[in-house]
C-alpha cells in the first residue's frame, strides 16, 4: 500500500482511460426524453470522472436530454428537501446510503423494484458485490444502487515511525494501540491524531470504532437511542485514554481539525498515525518517499457492547436513487442500469485518488486496485473483505442522533465531561429529537 503518486499524473491517466473505453456494449433499449440528475460532493478525482461517464451515457442514449447538476456536498439535504417540497426534484438523485430511510419515509424516493423491468435487478446482482448492493436496501426493497462504499474505521500508520519505535506490524488491539501511540509520540509529533469536528465523516469514523465494540447509536425495534450504552461509552473512553496518555495533539486542535486536515498532518509527518475511513490518505496523495500503510482499526480487547461487534461499517456516498415523482422512470432506470455496467463501476480502475471501495465484482480484478490496496484484494478474494460489515447507521432522525453524538465526542475530547456524562446527555437530547420527529 505504498503510494508515490502525483495528482496530475493520475488525472491524465483517468481521462485517457475514459477515452479509450469509449462506447462499450450498447444498451438493451435506448431511453428518450429529458432526465435530470443531481450529484452532491465527492473526492476531487471522482467529481472529474463523473461528467466523463455522462458523456458515455449520452453516446449510448443519444435521445436522452441529460441535465446533470453538481452541487457542493454540504447543501445536499437542504437542496433535496427544498426540491421535494416544491415538486422540483431531479429524476435521479445521487445521495448517501444513510439518507435512504429518511428519504423513503418522506416518500421522496421510490423502490426500484417497482419500476424495474423483469429480471433487471437480477441482472444487476450479477455484476454488483452482494454486500454492497444490500446496503441500498431498506424495508426489504431496493431503494438505491451504490457505485462504491466507504468503510470505517481504518488506521494509517507511518511505517518509519513504527519501526523507529521498535514495532514490525501495526497495532491489532485497543491496548496495543495505546501502547504503540505512546511509544511513537515525540515532543513535536504526536503518536496518533483523530478528527473530531462535526463533519459527518468524523462522526462515522468514531461509529466504526464503537460498532466494532458492540455499540449502536439506535435500536430500531424499540425506537430507543443507545448512545450511553457500554459499547459506545467504552469506545469514547478509548479517545479519552489516548488523549490522557499524551499521545495526541491537544483536544482543542482535534475539534477544529477534520479528516482532510488530519490527513494533511499525517502526510506532513506531524502525526505518526491517524484514524480515518477506508480511503485514508489516498484522495490527496502523499509526499514522494513517504512510507505509510493502511490497516484495519485495532479490535477491542473484549467487546463490551450488547450488540454483535461488527468487522466494519460501510456506506456509499454516491448511491443512485429515483425520485418518487419522476415523469421519466424509463430514462432514470436506463441511467442507473448504465451505472451498473462494469465499465462504469470500474471507471477509476483502482485509481487510488478515487479512493473508494469498489461496488462492482469485476472492479476487484483491476490491476490498479491490486497495486493500490493489495491487502483488500487478497481479503476480497478469500471472501473476507465484506464479512461482518454492516451498513452505517440509517434510520429516521439519524442526523439528529449523530449531531448529538458529535457534541458528546467534542465534549470528551475537550475534557469538559467524562464519556458517560457526555453520552448520557447526548442520549437524552437525541431521544427528544427522535420523539419529536417520529411524533
Amino acid at each position: 500500500m505504498k503510494l508515490d503518486i502525483s495528482r496530475r499524473g493520475f488525472l491524465i491517466g483517468t481521462t485517457a482511460m475514459a477515452a479509450t473505453m469509449g462506447i462499450a456494449a450498447g444498451p438493451a433499449r435506448a431511453a428518450t426524453g429529458s432526465l435530470s440528475v443531481w450529484k452532491f460532493g465527492g473526492t476531487p478525482a471522482e467529481v472529474e470522472a463523473w461528467p466523463a461517464a455522462n458523456e458515455r451515457f449520452l453516446a449510448d442514449n443519444p435521445d436522452v436530454d441529460l441535465d446533470y447538476s453538481f452541487f457542493n456536498g454540504q447543501i445536499r439535504r437542504q437542496k433535496i428537501l427544498a426540491g421535494f417540497q416544491t415538486n422540483r426534484l431531479a429524476d435521479v438523485i445521487i445521495a448517501f446510503g444513510q439518507d435512504i430511510p429518511e428519504f423513503a419515509g418522506f416518500g421522496l424516493i421510490q423502490p426500484l423494484d417497482d419500476i424495474a423491468t423483469d429480471g433487471q435487478i437480477d441482472d444487476w446482482k450479477t455484476r454488483l458485490v452482494p454486500e454492497v448492493m444490500s446496503s441500498g436496501m431498506h424495508d426489504g426493497k431496493l431503494y438505491g444502487v451504490p457505485t462504491y462504499v466507504d468503510m470505517a474505521s481504518f488506521l494509517a500508520v507511518d511505517m518509519d515511525a513504527l519501526a523507529e519505535a521498535g514495532y514490525d506490524r501495526p497495532p491489532a488491539t485497543w491496548s496495543e494501540l495505546r501502547e504503540y501511540a505512546k511509544a511513537m509520540t515525540k515532543p513535536d509529533r504526536p503518536g496518533i491524531a483523530f478528527p473530531a469536528t462535526t463533519a459527518p465523516v468524523d462522526i462515522n469514523i468514531f461509529e466504526g470504532i464503537a460498532y466494532a465494540n458492540g455499540g449502536r447509536v439506535f435500536d430500531e425495534e424499540s425506537g430507543k437511542v443507545q448512545l450511553n450504552e457500554a459499547g459506545m461509552v467504552d469506545a469514547l473512553q478509548l479517545y479519552a485514554d489516548l488523549i490522557a496518555d499524551g499521545s495526541t495533539p491537544a483536544g482543542t486542535s482535534m475539534t477544529e481539525t477534520n479528516f482532510r486536515d488530519t490527513a494533511q498532518l499525517f502526510g506532513q509527518g506531524r502525526a505518526a498515525m491517524w484514524i480515518g475511513l477506508s480511503w485514508l490518505n489516498t484522495p490527496w496523495g502523499t509526499p514522494e518517499g513517504f512510507n505509510w500503510e493502511g490497516a484495519p482499526f485495532p479490535r477491542p480487547d473484549a467487546p463490551s457492547g450488547s450488540f454483535p461487534p461488527v468487522a466494519a461499517i460501510m456506506d456509499g456516498t454516491a448511491v443512485l436513487m429515483v425520485s418518487s415523482r419522476t415523469e421519466n422512470p424509463e430514462a432514470a432506470m436506463a441511467y442507473i442500469d448504465f451505472w451498473t455496467q462494469n465499465e462504469q463501476l470500474n471507471t477509476w480502475g483502482g485509481n487510488p485518488e478515487i479512493a473508494r471501495v469498489p461496488a462492482g465484482k469485476d472492479a476487484w480484478n483491476s490491476p490498479g486496485l491490486a497495486e493500490a490496496w493489495p491487502n483488500w484484494v487478497s481479503a476480497y478474494n478469500e471472501g473476507n473483505f465484506f464479512a461482518g460489515a454492516e451498513p452505517m447507521p440509517r434510520f429516521i432522525g439519524v442526523s439528529a442522533v449523530e449531531s448529538a453524538l458529535a457534541t458528546a465526542i467534542q465534549q470528551v475530547v475537550l475534557g469538559q465531561k467524562t464519556p458517560q456524562e457526555a453520552l448520557d446527555e447526548a442520549n437524552e437530547a437525541a431521544q427528544a429529537q427522535i420523539d419529536l420527529l417520529r411524533g
Binding site: 467529481v47 441535465d67 453538481f70 437542504q78 427544498a82 506532513q268 484522495p283
Partner: protein
C-alpha cells in the same frame, strides 16, 4: 482635525496606521499571495510567506476548458451571470429607490416615518430562517433557477436601505431650489429630474455601489435557488472550493481576486461619491 508637525506625533500616527492596515489588509494579502503558490507549497511545512516558485497556474486552471470541472464551474459564465444580476438589480433599486426616497423626503403623508422605519427593519428578516419559505415562494412564482428571480429578490432585499440613503440625502437639498423652479412653471417631475437629481448624485452612486456589492457577494439564497450550471453565480463557484474533501487555497485566492476585481474597479471610480453619500445618509439622517 489636527496639524501638528512634531516627529513624535507623526511617528505615532504612522504606527497606528500600520497596525490598522495590517489587521485590515493582511488576510487579503495572504489570499493573494496564496493564489501564486503551488498546491504542493501550500501543503508543505514550514509555512512560506512569499511564493517560492510564483506561478499563475491557479488562474489559468480556472479558465481551463479541457478540465472536466470547468464544465461544472464555468467561470466566464459565473462572472457574467453575477454581473447581469448585480447590474440589473442595481438599476431597479436605484430607480425605485429614488422615487420612494423622493416621496419620503419631500412629501407629507400619513405613516411616513413608520413606513420608512418598517422598511429599514425588514432587513433583519433575511437570515437563514427565510431560506425555505423564499424557495417556496420563488417556486410558486416559477422564478426558481432563473436570473430574473434572483434580480427581483435582491432588489427587494436592497430597496429599503437604498431608499433610506437617498431619502436622507434628498432631505439635505434645500426645498427652495425646487420651489423656485416650480414657480417658474416646471412640473414636479421636471423639477425633480432637473434640480434635485443632479444634486443627489452622490447619494444615488452610494446606493448603487452599496447594492452592487451586496448583490455581487450574496451566497445563501443564490445557492439554493440556482440549479443549472448556466445560472450559477460567482459566490456559488467560490463556495464549491470548500468541498469537504479538498480545499485548494491557491484556487480560492485566484478566484477571489478575480471576483473582487470588478468591485474594486467600481470603487476606484466611485470612492469620493461613496463617502459623501454615506455622509449625507448616516450623518444627517
Amino acid at each position: 482635525m489636527n496639524q501638528s508637525s512634531r516627529p513624535f506625533y507623526w511617528m505615532a500616527l504612522s504606527l497606528i496606521g500600520v497596525v490598522i492596515a495590517a489587521y485590515i489588509l493582511f488576510p487579503i494579502f495572504w489570499l493573494v499571495l496564496a493564489s501564486f503558490k503551488t498546491t504542493g507549497e501550500l501543503a508543505s511545512l514550514p509555512l512560506t510567506f512569499w511564493p517560492q516558485a510564483p506561478t499563475i497556474e491557479a488562474y489559468t486552471a480556472l479558465f481551463d476548458e479541457t478540465s472536466q470541472s470547468s464544465q461544472l464551474l464555468n467561470w466566464p459564465t459565473l462572472i457574467s451571470n453575477s454581473f447581469i444580476v448585480a447590474v440589473s438589480s442595481t438599476i431597479l433599486v436605484v430607480f425605485f429607490g429614488t422615487l420612494a426616497g423622493y416621496a419620503f423626503s419631500r412629501l407629507h403623508f400619513p405613516g411616513r416615518d413608520l413606513i420608512l422605519g418598517g422598511l429599514l427593519i425588514s432587513r433583519m428578516f433575511q437570515g437563514a430562517a427565510l431560506l425555505l419559505p423564499t424557495y417556496r415562494l420563488m417556486n410558486s412564482l416559477n422564478l426558481q433557477d432563473s436570473l430574473l428571480g434572483l434580480i427581483l429578490l435582491y432588489s427587494a432585499f436592497g430597496l429599503p436601505f437604498a431608499t433610506w440613503i437617498i431619502a436622507s440625502s434628498l432631505r439635505e437639498i434645500p426645498f427652495e431650489l425646487e420651489e423656485s423652479a416650480m414657480m417658474d412653471g416646471a412640473s414636479r417631475l421636471q423639477s425633480m429630474v432637473r434640480i434635485v437629481l443632479p444634486l443627489a448624485t452622490p447619494a444615488l452612486i452610494t446606493a448603487a455601489m452599496w447594492h452592487f456589492v451586496g448583490a455581487w457577494s450574496e451566497f445563501a439564497f443564490a445557492s439554493i435557488l440556482m440549479e443549472s450550471s448556466d445560472n450559477k453565480t460567482v459566490t456559488i463557484g467560490l463556495a464549491s472550493f470548500v468541498e469537504l474533501f479538498t480545499i485548494e487555497f491557491n484556487r480560492v485566492g485566484a478566484a477571489a481576486t478575480l471576483v473582487a476585481m470588478p468591485i474594486m474597479v467600481v470603487f476606484f471610480f466611485g470612492q469620493r461619491y461613496f463617502t459623501r453619500g454615506l455622509l449625507a445618509g448616516a450623518v444627517k439622517g
